[in-house]
């Protein structure tokens, strides 16, 4: 064996136990120091404002890649955790609306009122109005009754409506009797077109 190697081997046999002993002593000493230290007291003695004052946040933020950070965020999972109802409960809508200047809002909106009205099918709108309830539930009925009163007009309306009812009744029965398979047009062509337009 090479004398140099023998010397190194002997040295190693001596240094390894010594190194392990030193390691154990150091760990023990650290444990004792940590146990002896009152971290809270230590933190209280630190002037955090002074420390933070020395930190250049802007520099740090400039070094942060926000896009990469956001790319790692699962927004859907985040939103799934949000209780929207609770969130909305906390919003005071009336106060919010009080702060909205509706006139200014409408002024900013590019709304062409005429074009908007042109797009509304007024005839369809009128057809949807429940005239029966409108006449019966409002003072409109009284106004119409007073303006169109008269025994003659009432009798005329009654006679005509009865006649139309009988016409329809007879037409149904004649249709059955002659086994009319296909009903004719209800009105002349020009008037049907007029109906379609109205």
């Amino acid at each position: 064996m090479d004398p140099r190697e023998r010397l190194l081997s002997a040295g190693k046999r001596l240094t390894d136990p010594a190194e392990a002993l030193a390691q154990r002593i150091a760990e023990r000493a650290v444990d004792l120091i940590v146990q002896a230290l009152d971290i809270n007291q230590l933190v209280q003695r630190v002037d955090l404002d002074a420390v933070l004052g020395q930190v250049d946040i802007n520099t740090i933020l400039r070094r942060v890649d926000v896009n990469a950070l956001l790319a790692q965020v699962d927004v859907n999972a985040l939103l799934a955790k949000v209780d929207v109802t609770v969130l909305l409960d906390r919003v005071e809508v009336n106060a919010l609306l009080d702060r909205v200047n509706v006139d200014a809002l409408l002024g900013r909106a590019d709304v062409d009122a005429r074009a908007l009205i042109d797009r509304v099918d007024v005839n369809d709108l009128i057809r949807r109005v429940d005239l029966d309830s409108l006449v019966q539930d409002t003072d409109l009925g009284a106004v119409i009754a007073k303006s169109s009163g008269g025994v003659a007009s009432e009798a005329l309306d009654a006679a005509r409506s009865q006649a139309v009812g009988l016409d329809q009744f007879i037409d149904r029965w004649v249709g059955r009797a002659i086994r009319r398979r296909q009903a004719g047009p209800p009105a002349p062509a020009a008037l049907l077109d007029g109906e379609a337009e109205s």
Binding site: I144, S153, R160, A163, D167, P188, L191
Partner: protein, 175 residues
């Protein structure tokens, strides 16, 4: 809510072909009115003749002159009414009117033709009127010849509103 509220079915009938009952009732009214006017006219004529000449005149129904005058009057009554406005007095009461077969307003000459061919529908026990019942457009023989049709022309929607208004005015227990 009154029980007199009319059904809404006839509201949409405006412009539709008129049925047999409306047309028959209109015709009955026209016959009564035109006959009454004819009788009134003959009575007035007899009175004038009596006053002027001193002779009393009695109109005999079997007299051919009276018959011709009556037929001419009836033709004038119906022909003029249809040519002028597309409706007679009876039709106005029932809210029906005569139009061209395609639905446009009646030409005066077509009204006159309709009056001329109208008697044809009475032939063979009124067979010509059968078309009002069975024809798809409710057109009688004289309608087919003259190229006309009869439609409902009254504002049923307005009538229904008037009905409802009267009921509303009368109140829940009204009438």
């Amino acid at each position: 809510m009154s029980t007199r509220t009319p059904p809404a079915g006839w509201v949409s009938s405006q412009g539709h072909y008129a049925g047999a009952v409306s047309r028959f009732l209109a015709f009955v009214i026209d016959v009564l009115v035109s006959s009454g006017l004819a009788a009134l006219g003959l009575a007035a004529t007899a009175l004038v003749v009596q006053v002027v000449t001193g002779h009393s005149v009695s109109w005999d129904r079997t007299n051919i002159v009276v018959a011709i005058i009556f037929v001419a009057w009836e033709f004038f009554y119906f022909g003029y009414s249809w040519a002028a406005s597309g409706r007679t007095f009876g039709m106005a009461v029932l809210g029906v009117r005569v139009v061209r077969a395609d639905g446009h307003g009646l030409d005066p000459w077509r009204g006159v033709v309709r009056a001329l061919v109208f008697p044809l529908s009475f032939l063979f026990f009124g067979l010509g009127f059968l078309g009002i019942l069975v024809q798809r457009e409710h057109r009688a023989l004289h309608d087919l010849i003259a190229g006309t049709a009869v439609i409902y022309a009254w504002d049923a929607r307005a009538a229904r509103i008037r009905f409802l208004a009267r009921d509303a005015e009368a109140g829940p227990g009204g009438r």
